[in-house]
């Protein structure tokens, strides 16, 4: 009798293409919730410098009695960074598998290549990653921000977006993020097995609306600084 060793749930999940997809979907859902909260926080910029800086300070003081000053922020950072590593690792592994699956390409360009959002998931994801690196250096560590580190969060934001090329890169990145969410949200729902022929159009519309709201919610901040609405 052959006894097959019972592999644990981690290796069983990671070992299959659907398992990797579900890792991408779960970590993507974490990013989506974070991004929505981040967007709502950003919009406080329209309520003035006091409101925005008080919010930034509050983020550092949440749960201070339990996890210490900036404790919640650091927990968030660890969760997000771990999710990012898993999200990218699984995605690159499927990217490699896809490249391997078709060694000889077609002479005539394929007519059905899917939506623009679906086609740009991989390179779009790379653009979003590069943006995040810049974004953290600019507004978290302050390394590439024109103002010194101890300046108000509001003033650093304004100083950063006063550079037109930074605003442009930011807007391009949130548009890329919108496309990523447009395909990613619907794809995650499909990966969790929640799609059906009847619900499909509604789910795709939902993903589009969520993506559009997030893109606009982020893009209006640099636009407001460039047009002088936020100073």
């Amino acid at each position: 009798m052959v006894i097959t060793p019972q592999r644990n749930i981690v290796s069983r999940t990671w070992g299959t293409s659907v398992g990797k997809k579900s890792v991408i979907a779960v970590t993507g859902a974490i990013f989506l919730i974070y991004v929505i909260a981040h967007m709502l926080g950003n919009l406080k910029v329209f309520f003035g410098i006091q409101a925005f800086d008080a919010y930034a300070q509050h983020l550092r003081e949440i749960g201070e009695a339990i996890v210490g000053y900036e404790g919640v922020l650091w927990i968030l950072r660890v969760v997000l960074l771990t999710s990012l590593v898993l999200h990218m690792w699984a995605a690159f592994s499927l990217w490699y598998k896809a490249k391997k699956a078709r060694p000889v390409g077609y002479q005539h360009r394929q007519r059905w290549e899917g939506s623009y959002a679906a086609r740009t998931m991989r390179w779009g994801g790379v653009i979003i990653f590069l943006f995040i690196v810049w974004h953290i250096l600019d507004l978290t560590t302050g390394t590439v921000n024109p103002l010194p580190g101890e300046s108000s969060a509001y003033m650093k934001l304004v100083a950063s977006f006063d550079r037109w090329y930074v605003s442009l890169f930011y807007i391009l990145a949130v548009v890329a993020l919108g496309f990523h969410i447009r395909h990613g949200l619907w794809s995650a729902i499909q990966t969790f097995g929640a799609n059906s022929a009847l619900k499909q159009n509604a789910l795709k519309t939902l993903a589009f609306v969520v993506a559009a709201v997030i893109t606009i919610g982020f893009a209006i901040v640099p636009l407001a600084v460039m047009t002088g609405l936020v100073r």
Partner: protein, 251 residues
């Protein structure tokens, strides 16, 4: 109709292939695409040249043998139609038509437009069956099936295993094929005993055979001659994740 055909010619699996041009002057609009290739082949044979190899069997759109990528479309420009059921009236006089085989590592080219699709047989062997007592057929109405499940299972069961989904998928994935089989068998009472292991084993076999992973692009559904719904893939994912969480293992 006068047509210029650019066809992938490859003498053997190891040979290096290339696109070769042919002209045909006497194509009737009522010919099927395969009949048009028959005319070309008769001409090539008369000229003492090697005819173009392509797979075909029933020519009724149900066997799944024929299949070629026509101008970048698996099975050509008409939706829900196999190559054999495609007619030349969908093309215009003077057109140039590019004809290529399915492209996937798991479907190696045998000759010209013929590819070896036995990878699909391997996926079926890994779980595309139900266990029943053989012998005299049971009374057909003995096991009740609700209408919705019966309809959904039947929609999935129309898959003819032609491989167009793999050919069109940007990831070279056979997900729609595997999903069709898992949905077809998993929704019916007779398919319940192996439901969990079927989903896990068929997916594991598909991954092992160097098909790509699904990224829900949807090109497979667009080219599928039977219009298998993209939601079947959600059904497969549902069964795979459910089985994984329940601790089912592949054998």
């Amino acid at each position: 109709m006068k047509l210029t055909l650019r066809i992938w010619r490859q003498a053997s699996p190891e040979a290096k292939g290339k696109m070769q041009s042919y002209t045909l002057d006497d194509v009737e609009p009522d010919m099927s695409f395969l009949e048009m290739l028959d005319v070309l082949n008769e001409k090539l044979v008369l000229d003492g040249k090697d005819p173009v190899s392509f797979d075909h069997d029933c020519r009724e759109g149900i066997c799944g043998s024929c299949g070629m990528v026509i101008n970048g479309n698996a099975h050509g420009p008409q939706q829900y139609t196999t190559t054999c059921q495609l007619h030349m009236r969908h093309f215009n006089d003077g057109d140039t038509i590019d004809i290529e085989p399915w492209r996937a590592r798991a479907f190696p080219v045998v000759k010209d437009l013929v590819v070896d699709r036995s990878a699909f047989d391997e996926i079926i062997k890994s779980g595309g069956y139900i266990s029943v007592n053989t012998g005299s057929a049971p009374e057909a109405h003995a096991i009740p099936v609700d209408k919705v499940s019966a309809d959904d299972a039947f929609d999935a069961a129309t898959c003819i295993g032609c491989g167009a989904c793999v050919a069109a998928c940007p990831n070279g994935s056979s997900m729609l094929f595997t999903a069709a089989k898992v949905t077809h068998l998993g929704l019916l009472p007779q398919g319940q005993p192996e439901r969990q292991t079927r989903a896990i084993n068929m997916l594991a076999k598909q991954d092992e055979l160097d098909f790509g992973g699904c990224t829900n692009v949807g090109a497979c559904h667009e080219v599928c001659p039977k219009g298998i719904p993209l939601a079947s893939i959600a059904q497969l994912n549902h069964d795979v994740l459910g089985a994984t969480l329940a601790g089912a293992r592949s054998d």
